[in-house]
Symmetry: C4
Subunit: 278 residues, 4 copies
Amino acid sequence: MPAVRRNELKEKIHEIIFEADTPAGKAFDVVLLILIVASVLVVTLESVRGLQSHYNNFFYALEWFFTIIFTIEYILRLYCVYRPAKYATSFFGVIDLLAILPTYISLIIYGTQYLLVIRALRLLRVFRIFKLGHFLSEGEVIIRALKASRAKITVFLTFILLLIIIIGSIMYLVEGGQNEGFSSIPRSIYWTVVTLTTVGYGDITPVTELGQFLSAFIMILGYAILAVPTGIVSAEMVSDMRKNTLTNQACRYCGKEGHETDAVFCKYCGERLNESLS
Amino acid sequence: MPAVRRNELKEKIHEIIFEADTPAGKAFDVVLLILIVASVLVVTLESVRGLQSHYNNFFYALEWFFTIIFTIEYILRLYCVYRPAKYATSFFGVIDLLAILPTYISLIIYGTQYLLVIRALRLLRVFRIFKLGHFLSEGEVIIRALKASRAKITVFLTFILLLIIIIGSIMYLVEGGQNEGFSSIPRSIYWTVVTLTTVGYGDITPVTELGQFLSAFIMILGYAILAVPTGIVSAEMVSDMRKNTLTNQACRYCGKEGHETDAVFCKYCGERLNESLS
Amino acid sequence: MPAVRRNELKEKIHEIIFEADTPAGKAFDVVLLILIVASVLVVTLESVRGLQSHYNNFFYALEWFFTIIFTIEYILRLYCVYRPAKYATSFFGVIDLLAILPTYISLIIYGTQYLLVIRALRLLRVFRIFKLGHFLSEGEVIIRALKASRAKITVFLTFILLLIIIIGSIMYLVEGGQNEGFSSIPRSIYWTVVTLTTVGYGDITPVTELGQFLSAFIMILGYAILAVPTGIVSAEMVSDMRKNTLTNQACRYCGKEGHETDAVFCKYCGERLNESLS
Amino acid sequence: MPAVRRNELKEKIHEIIFEADTPAGKAFDVVLLILIVASVLVVTLESVRGLQSHYNNFFYALEWFFTIIFTIEYILRLYCVYRPAKYATSFFGVIDLLAILPTYISLIIYGTQYLLVIRALRLLRVFRIFKLGHFLSEGEVIIRALKASRAKITVFLTFILLLIIIIGSIMYLVEGGQNEGFSSIPRSIYWTVVTLTTVGYGDITPVTELGQFLSAFIMILGYAILAVPTGIVSAEMVSDMRKNTLTNQACRYCGKEGHETDAVFCKYCGERLNESLS
């Protein structure tokens, strides 16, 4: 029955491409990782002028080589997966598509091939392949802490944004006349961001005495402001960590809570916890 | 009775302008937000020289257009509100006035129109309009943490200020002779602020060996100092969050709140808590 | 008895100079603060070249005026205090002396008058004068946290220092030949400090590809390192704050600890705490 | 018996070199520290061009002087230690070897003598010599906190790395044409690292309006990102410190430790803790 054989083939491809437990699956994943790294490197080096002029054709060939391989891989993934639509709209499915599109688009619009660096995101698979799942769960702690502090950070960023617009305008009024760097409010706002975040390029700097005086205030303000998001995230993480070390379970006898996750007996009255489980 | 009809009109206007629950009120608020954003954009773009020379009259017309609309809105708010004096002296009342004044003043003093960016503050209404009240309450957590650490931050900033003055003077003595950047103590103080806050423009840099040696010390000092305000705010936020783990339950006898989750007896009057549960 | 009258005079002067409770004492302190601020301002402005050339004699006169007043004040403090030796060796006693010495030394060595900015430290008295004592006790929380983390910070700074020396030498080997900025190891070390602390002046920057590659690593390292002192201080402050909200007192009946400072009854067994005090 | 005498000599040398309790051992260690500091200073100063040309022979002689002394010391350490192989492969054994090799290699390859700064790492012995062992144990708290947050930091750095590659490529597309600083993707990536870490040299800065607009976003992003590693390390340190508030008391029945200070019964076996006190 060819239909069955085809299903067997599908199963086999699925096993190799999507799983990392068999030797063939593992080998496939390792080769894939190497190809992705090589491909990102090629895109990166292609932009270096000295190399580009010498190895133009070589890079061009390599780019198409990687794109065709990744295209075949993408079609195989769509073919062997149980629900193609779900894969195609999943995070990795979208990344896999975005990782091949720029080469085809570059036939029409020049320059888009540099967008191929989006392939770097495919490297996130490394955590799955090398069974580093617990690393990702750690990443979830970070994301959970950021999500929990989302409201605080939104309010904070809104406040900062308004502050930046107003400071930028004041500095434009103060420095605008004498200083080519503060020639418009958008440029002054750019300077304000550069200063408040303590990046401080120095491409635009105040030259008037009043401007330097105000800048000093703005920097000390930025210094104090910097403490706020750090405080928010730290507090969330401390709180998240504490929750993980305590159960919400109450002792059946004395009713006290606050038992650690590894506790077997109530630390207050000595009775056994969790009897239904023992 | 025309007096009654006038009151009805007042009620109607109040509903539209101050409330966001009716379709008309919602529509008014959304239009207002768009006008504010557009108005801030116009002020910002007006300062760009290339655009200013081409669209000078256009910008001028737009500016007066927005100012007249906001003036009418301000008068309507004053008219329909129950206690005009209270609105006029409230936070948003003052902002609403400051958002129209600069255009009128710019008839007398040139340049003040850029102060119109203060209109950006009117955007804070966005939290009320889109029922993001809980966001503001999160903002209050930040403000509460900052208030609780106010004393610590004041002492810290006083210390930093004195440190900046003294370091600035020492660097003036060290670099002043050989380096045009350190030509006076105020400039040296400006450099000290730029360095301690890790902004580091590079418009003024030490050139003597002793100066660079001292600078390295100052930077490491600034590095250590940076940890202090962050530590203060983090600790306050952790503490604020822990307080939220207290129960809201009030003692039945003395009515006091703030009992920890593991408390059995009221810590203020000694009566048993939670009797209905025992 | 003139001896008694002299003592009365001494008492009177002591009251005015050292205490801030009487109107005379308060007035004295406020005048003193104004004089200190004015004096620091004069020293600062004297260094500005444009002002110096025009008001040279004026500044010179003012400097001596302030110095003579502060000298008289210092002598009066020594005269009226109960134990002059103790005052002279106290923190404020040393500062008071250092605040007048530079003017006299400047008669012999030119330039030392700029050291007069040390007078700024006298402003720390402001906390005592305006009854901001609790602010200073808040400052002590910071100092206590820094002291508690002294050992950790010492180890950390030693490690950073060795890291800076080694990175500086490696960058000298990499960039030294092609880049005037990295012309010696001390200069490379200066660059390393500027980079690791994220100050980033840009007066010295890597130009070779290997140098820029290494720099990127060093910056990300500095980024991670920056988290350590902040973490240390934050943890100490959280710990310090928690201690302040809990007494070490144990309940006399059930022996449990962990009562908050405002608790009157044991939250575990309901018995009265602190009976000896009630 | 010469074999015994030799052992006695070995013992004596071991005592002097490896221990710091006897006067001779202490004196040896102090001399060693001074020699190490002097040797690092010589390597550092040798790189300063002005000094090099004048004192070339002097530096060369000193370098060999230190190297020969450290070589003798290394051989003696190998000779007198009980298990030479274990010492040679220990942390300090490797450092001791690396501290002498560069001079010998510099006979063949010029320039390697600057690697002698690795000698600075030998200064870590200072903690052992001056009985600052508790400082090192504090250092272990830092290392423990970093180890505990290793997984989180790895995920975070992977994410940052991918972010840097993608931002770098986008900025290359935006600025590449008009700005010599963004002439290739590797240079754009270097700029991204400089910006995200808030170092901000200013050797490469965006010049187009879109580039500056994007940069402002990237900086605010970097600002928010900076809060994450600090939050991670702070939370770990708070958690590490809290663990220290657990009692060291072991349960009399099951022998397990880690009971909280308010525990009455062992949370592992349910037996009463602290019976002698009840």
